[in-house]
């Protein structure tokens, strides 16, 4: 990605930005996030199929903000998160430079958030068939069995909150789980606390989640929590129409239609 490196160098040299958020080689075959403030370090920038971490998470972190205006390497999942963060008033167009990367690994410039949205409209979020199948299988279980399945799946969770830390949309100053007046969720990692935590996390992402899977990738116990958000994503599409971050649409849950359909209210 020589082009990427060249672009990064130019941005730093012209002082258009003060930090480049990108990917670099990590331990073994893995990649890691890198925060480059000197042109000399730009040569460490890489981009390939291993770079799956959602870098958008750093845009709202105060430690990164302190470094100055960033340019961010942004493959599609990152672009989606950027757009959603914009919808939620967390970033503005002047706050950052987006180094977009197409699925063909080509560098692409975006003049505005609207341009990102136009680009993403041709790259809609699609729940892969294998996940749809798994979700169908889970839903086909009898209700008690399904509950037992999830209690067991969630059992290894020890509330490390890596899922929260990796999610670009979990940017709250104070998470509800850290609120003890009232104690909404018991903090210990026992079955009830785990269940409540994951329900709350999923609900807080309802209509917002962009399906980047960062939460699942971050989970040290590989708990399939992304199935919950994927299922919600399907529910949103089914009940309220198309899905995906959009600058001029209101968020799914903070808007409504008088003729929203449901079948369970008497």
């Amino acid at each position: 990605m020589n082009e990427l490196i060249k672009k990064a160098v130019a941005l730093l040299e012209s002082d258009s930005v003060q930090v480049i958020i990108g990917y670099a080689e990590g331990t073994g075959t893995r990649t890691r996030a890198i925060f480059i403030t000197r042109t000399a370090d730009c040569e460490n920038l890489i981009f390939d199929s291993r770079c799956v971490q959602n870098l958008a998470v750093y845009l709202t972190k105060s430690e990164i903000k302190k470094l100055g205006k960033p340019a961010i390497v942004a493959p599609i999942p990152v672009l989606r998160s950027i757009l959603q963060l914009a919808v939620e008033n967390q970033i503005t167009e002047n706050d950052l430079v987006v180094l977009g990367i197409t699925p063909q690994s080509e560098l692409v410039d975006f003049e505005s958030f609207a341009a990102i949205e136009a680009f993403l409209s041709t790259h809609q979020i699609v729940i892969e068939e294998k996940y749809q199948e798994t979700i169908r299988e889970i839903k086909a279980m009898p209700v008690t069995e399904r509950f037992a399945y999830w209690v067991k799946e969630l059992e290894p969770c020890f509330k490390c909150y890596a899922c929260r830390a990796a999610c670009p949309l979990c940017y709250c100053t104070r998470c509800t789980v850290d609120n003890n007046q009232p104690q909404w969720i018991s903090v210990a990692s026992h079955p009830l606390g785990n269940l409540e935590w994951h329900i709350m996390r999923a609900m807080h992402l309802a209509g917002r989640c962009t399906d980047c899977e960062a939460c699942y990738n971050a989970c040290p116990m590989s708990i399939p929590i992304h199935l919950l958000t994927k299922n919600m994503l399907q529910d949103v599409t089914e009940n309220f129409g198309t899905y995906g971050p959009s600058l001029d649409k209101l968020n799914t849950l903070s808007s409504f239609k008088p003729d929203d359909k449901e079948s369970f209210i008497r």
Binding site: I135, I138, K139, M141, V143, T144, E145, R146, F147, A148, Y149, W150, V151, T176, W184, S186, A188, H190, P191, L192, L195, E196, I199, M200, A202, M203, A206, G207, L227, L228, N231, M232, D235, V236, N239, F240, T252, L253, S254, S255, F256, K257, P258, D260, E262, F264, I265, R266
Partner: protein, 148 residues
């Protein structure tokens, strides 16, 4: 063995269902004692976390009720609530939390008889489903912890 008496909590809005339940009273329509009401200003105020908390605290069933669509005292609180319930219900169902244990309804201030009917039918449903032992088992860890 005594018969199972379901513990049911009702989250209702002040303007329609609470008033509707008042009308049930003034009309002297009898219903089961199992349901107890918590008053909210609007269904829009009813946090899904409170529903979750109710199961954690040992509720066998929950009623959530407010103004009919287009009747909301605050014009749109119930519309927001409806979206939230649609999403919440889908998530609970995915997780195997028995959605039959939460009865959602629209009961207006004029529907005293409907409120009695909602209460009685919910009590019957929960009676048939039995105590929510699956959830209690999960919640039970808390009590054990507290005892130690």
């Amino acid at each position: 063995m005594t018969e199972f008496e379901p513990k049911i909590i009702a989250f209702v809005c002040n303007w329609c269902t609470y008033a509707g339940a008042d009308l049930t009273g003034t009309s002297r329509i009898k219903y089961a004692q199992n349901v107890k009401i918590v008053r909210f200003p609007c269904t829009g105020r009813i946090d899904f976390m409170l529903l979750l908390k109710s199961f954690g605290e040992g509720a066998d069933g929950i009623i959530v009720s407010g103004c009919h669509p287009n009747d909301c005292h605050y014009t749109s609180g119930n519309f927001h609530a409806r979206r939230r319930w649609i999403m919440f219900r889908g998530l609970l169902d995915m997780l195997g939390i028995d959605v039959r244990r939460i009865q959602y309804s629209w009961v207006s201030a004029a529907e005293g008889a409907k409120w009695a009917d909602i209460v009685n039918s919910t009590v019957n449903t929960i009676r048939e489903l039995g105590p929510y032992t699956e959830y209690e088992k999960v919640a039970g860890y808390l009590e054990k912890e507290a005892k130690q």
